[in-house]
């Protein structure tokens, strides 16, 4: 019998499910351990986090924890995979466009003009594997927001599965990873534009037995800056929020990191995302700016609830 628990972490809603009810507590404890570690290491909004301290290192080599090193390696792998469409050096660009604190604390309209510019680029980050050290250029700030949550979903799902010894599903603000033996028919998942959509809300319902699904959208974290509508997915080539061709993209992949990378890159790429997703056999659901839905690479045909 499925059991579930919900709580908040990393500034978003967390949902944990297990296939065995009496294993839920162990799974939740494992997830919380991982999320606490990710928050202390990777949060751009905590001045005491390791990545915040790295951002203030002023271009000097900095020895970091193995976990931050791993998170950075993951982010750089995603940058290479997406040919720079998802880039961790967007930290300064995020500040320039006004996303400089926890989203809940952003003013409704920041009234100041800004000058955006291309981000420094992930190639500027130097990793020293032997010393577990990182060197950033003096003007570079890291933002792991595009990969850390997905990485946390993958890690916490596996940690929960080890702790609970049964099938688990972990959802971090809509980034979902599953591990262990799934329910017989798979995990039923509603795919919508906003992760806060009720379980009986409108959207495609699919099932997953393994792997992960992630959704990136321009419709949720939005704010106004000097009268201009902003969203949180930055195009590294411009340093500004990506032009909206697809407003929401959901991708299924072997890991949540891969799924999230493909979904976010697709928002940045626009129409060019379709051949890339198809070539890589990534099942995807893309919602155009006007609401039209495109399903690719084996994404089930529409089964819309509500």
């Amino acid at each position: 019998m499925l059991a579930s628990a919900e709580f908040r972490s990393l500034g978003t809603g967390v949902r944990v499910l297990t296939t065995e009810a009496d294993a839920l507590q162990a799974a939740v404890a494992a997830v919380q351990l991982v999320l606490d570690q990710v928050d202390q290491t990777c949060s751009r909004f905590r001045s005491d986090s390791e990545v915040s301290q790295l951002n203030q290192a002023g271009g000097h080599p900095t020895v970091v924890s193995p976990f931050l090193f791993f998170a950075l390696e993951t982010a750089l792998g995603v940058s290479r995979m997406t040919q720079g469409a998802v880039d961790p050096t967007v930290g300064t660009a995020m500040k320039i466009i006004g996303y400089d604190r926890d989203f809940d604390d952003l003013p409704s309209d920041g009234a100041f003009k800004v000058a955006v510019r291309p981000v420094p680029g992930y190639e500027s980050i130097r990793l020293d594997h032997a010393r577990c050290a990182v060197t950033l250029q003096p003007d570079v700030e890291i933002d792991l927001g595009a990969t850390a949550k997905a990485l946390a979903a993958d890690l916490s799902a596996h940690a929960a599965q080890v702790a609970a010894e049964c099938g688990v599903l972990v959802s971090l603000g809509g980034d979902i990873a599953v591990a262990g033996a799934a329910p017989h028919a798979g995990w039923p998942i509603l795919v919508a534009e906003n992760h806060a959509t009720p379980l009986n809300g409108a959207g495609d319902v699919i099932t997953l037995k393994a792997g992960a699904i992630a959704t990136s959208t321009t419709t949720v974290r939005r704010w106004r800056q000097d009268g201009v509508e902003r969203h949180h997915i930055v195009d590294p080539k411009t340093g500004a929020p990506a032009r909206i061709h697809w407003r929401t993209v959901s991708v299924v992949a072997a890991t949540c990191v891969d799924a999230n990378a493909a979904a976010t890159a697709s928002i940045v790429w626009g129409a060019r995302a379709v051949p890339w997703l198809t070539r890589h056999h990534l099942a995807a659901r893309l919602v155009a700016a006007g609401g039209e839905v495109t399903r690719l690479s084996g994404w089930p045909s529409a089964r819309v609830t509500a």
Partner: protein, 95 residues
């Protein structure tokens, strides 16, 4: 000469120190344990990434992300009326 009234205070102090020592060990072990768990989980979850770091070509587009034959979403089971047999367990959406 020691004040007899100090004896309970000293005892309390010793117990307090013992408790602090015990908590320090517990916290240290928990920290080491968590690091170990995360390292184990990370190694198990992303076995290919370490090798990829040593060999950048392995992370080129079309290599790591290719999903052919790996993971595929399935349509939700439905009854004869086309309704879902089971409610969704979670929502994938933007946040």
């Amino acid at each position: 000469m020691a004040n007899p009234e100090d004896a309970p205070r000293a005892l309390n102090r010793d117990r307090g120190l013992e408790a602090v020592r015990s908590w320090t060990w517990t916290a240290g072990l928990a920290g080491v344990g968590l690091t170990g768990v995360l390292a184990f989980v990370a190694a198990g979850s992303f076995a290919g990434h370490q090798a990829a770091a040593a060999a950048p070509a392995a992370t080129d587009p079309g290599t790591t992300v290719d999903n052919s034959g790996q993971v595929a979403p399935q349509p939700a089971p439905q009854d004869s009326l086309g309704n879902s047999n089971q409610p969704p367990a979670a929502v994938s959406g933007g946040s």
